[in-house]
């Protein structure tokens, strides 16, 4: 800066000074942001709890088909959200199989709950509990709640899978005609998806083997035995889609796919074992998703008995549909879901 009587600055000085002032003002304007850099995370605990409640109560999760609860531990990374709702069209109606999987702490660890249910950048602590009013469902995950926490409570209903019970009352319907001299005995349970995937039925009551387990239970089997036979040999349980046979390479250890019990003992699908009392087959979505079934498919589950001469007279086709005589759909169970976040 040159001092003279004219009171003028040089251009060089003005340019330099202007640049300096602009830089100074820009830095000064950032100072309040530095002072307010401490982020208050407590303010959004209630919001995170609410969001988690919505994901659990109103969202079926992702993937949907096959459903996330069908994934095994090797594919756990493909689960994006662990929603418990039956369907996005049936909020607050939770599926029992999703509930059992969600609260399985041998499958999910705390980091899984944070990344698949709670989300957020901060590693929140959580406590998620579900209890049905009749006490049948009583689950909890997470730590004990502290003094202050974000919270939401949702009232829901729990849907349990359907079951087809073929007992002694069906004896006349499913007994071979006395005129029939054939020696093969095949009892078929038919899933006609044209009937099952009926969009006029609310998802809260719909039977969809692609997303929930189906249970076939044959009891009072002694009523289906022939003459003086004490048991009949179940050679195999096979699956057909239309006229095509579907390979099923799983054994009794693959309980994620199915469970087959003969007289209450776990068996593979080719047991070759004697049946005297009951057969129970639970087919899970992980298995039905492999059958490539569409909304118009027909899936036949065949129980093949082999004895010469035959020790059982059971035969016929039992439809797994909405007829309450054929299939029992348990009532929805009221429950309460609580989410605490801190």
């Amino acid at each position: 800066m040159l001092r003279n009587d004219e009171g003028l600055f040089s251009i060089d000085f003005l340019v330099g000074f202007t640049i300096f002032m602009v830089a100074l003002i820009a830095v000064a304007s950032m100072v309040p942001g530095l002072l307010a850099g401490l982020q208050s995370s407590g303010i959004d605990y209630d919001a995170v709890a609410y969001r988690t409640g919505v994901i659990l109560a109103e969202d079926p999760g992702w993937p949907v088909d096959p459903p996330w609860e069908a994934y095994d531990v090797n594919h756990k990374g493909e689960i994006e959200r662990t929603g418990l709702a039956v369907s996005k069209d049936a909020p607050n109606i939770l599926l029992s199989t999703k509930i059992e999987k969600f609260f399985d702490t041998s499958f999910f660890d705390p980091e899984d709950y944070r990344s698949k249910a709670i989300f957020g950048d901060i590693p929140y602590s959580y406590n998620i509990t579900l209890r049905s009013l009749d006490g049948r469902y009583n689950h909890a995950v997470g730590q004990e709640t502290p003094e202050g926490y974000g919270y939401i409570r949702r009232v829901v209903k729990i849907k349990e899978p359907s079951v087809a019970v073929i007992n002694g009352s069906f004896k006349d319907r499913y007994t071979i005609s006395p005129d029939d001299n054939s020696t093969t005995r095949t009892f078929i349970v038919r899933f006609d998806f044209n009937r099952l995937i009926n969009l006029s039925i609310d998802p809260a009551y719909r039977i969809d083997p692609r997303t929930e387990p189906v249970n076939i239970t044959i009891t009072d089997f002694e009523k289906f035995l022939n003459g003086t036979a004490s048991e009949a040999t179940l050679k195999s349980v096979t699956f057909r889609r239309g006229s095509s046979s579907i390979p099923f390479p799983y054994d009794e250890d693959d309980t994620d796919y199915y469970t087959l019990r003969i007289d209450n003992n776990l068996c593979p699908t080719e047991p070759g074992a004697g049946v005297s009392s009951n057969i129970s087959l639970v087919l899970k979505p992980a298995a039905t998703s492999l059958f490539e079934l569409g909304p118009t498919s027909i899936l036949d589950v065949e129980f093949n008995f082999e004895d010469k001469p035959p020790d059982t007279n059971i035969t016929g086709i039992h439809y797994y549909d909405y007829n309450p005589t054929n299939v029992t759909r348990p009532d929805l169970k009221p429950a309460v879901l609580e989410v605490a976040i801190w």
Binding site: R3, L24, A36, Y50, N92, Y151, I152, V155, K157
Partner: protein, 167 residues
């Protein structure tokens, strides 16, 4: 700092001026953010709960089964409505039940007029309580010759309004 010729002749003068300007700017640009205490979060939690309870009462337990909410409205069963609603509302997963109270009205059409029928009166905790929240649900009543006052026998949609509060 300024001489007779109008010149700034010391850097200290300029620096002093800049410091004053900077201080004034910092004070003016620093904003205080404060969150006034209000009840919108507890209110939201209670509203969501009340809305869930009405929705679950309006959901039959079986396909084609009885709709509990419609049945209670049809019969104007105030005790049944009160006990069912509060059972769902106050249920917790562990510990003591919650302490939520309620009152309920049903708005319906009578000819050209909109009338309101008090289904559940507020109890003794109506005064000196926390602020109440309101949840509503439309309920479709079918034609029913045995349904008397106040809704009459014709099919109509009525609005169930429930006030909830903690006491």
């Amino acid at each position: 700092m300024v001489n007779d010729s109008g010149q700034l002749y010391t850097m200290e003068g300029i620096a002093a001026g800049l410091v004053m300007l900077l201080t004034a700017y910092l004070i003016l640009s620093t904003t205080s953010i404060y969150t006034p205490g209000d009840t919108h979060i507890p209110d939201m939690q209670l509203e969501q709960l009340g809305s869930d309870v009405l929705a679950m009462m309006d959901t039959p337990d079986s396909d084609g089964g009885e709709n509990h909410l419609v049945d209670l409205i049809n019969r104007s069963d105030r005790d049944g409505f009160n006990s069912t609603f509060l059972e769902y509302c106050n249920a917790r997963t562990n510990g003591k039940p919650d302490t939520i109270h309620m009152s309920a009205n049903v708005a319906y059409r009578d000819g050209d007029r909109i009338e309101e029928h008090q289904l559940v009166k507020p109890d003794e905790t109506w005064t000196g309580r926390e602020s109440a929240v309101r949840v509503t649900r439309w309920v479709q009543l079918d034609q029913q010759s045995t349904r008397g006052d106040p809704y009459g026998s014709r099919a109509q949609a009525v609005l169930v309004e429930v006030l909830l509060w903690r006491a």
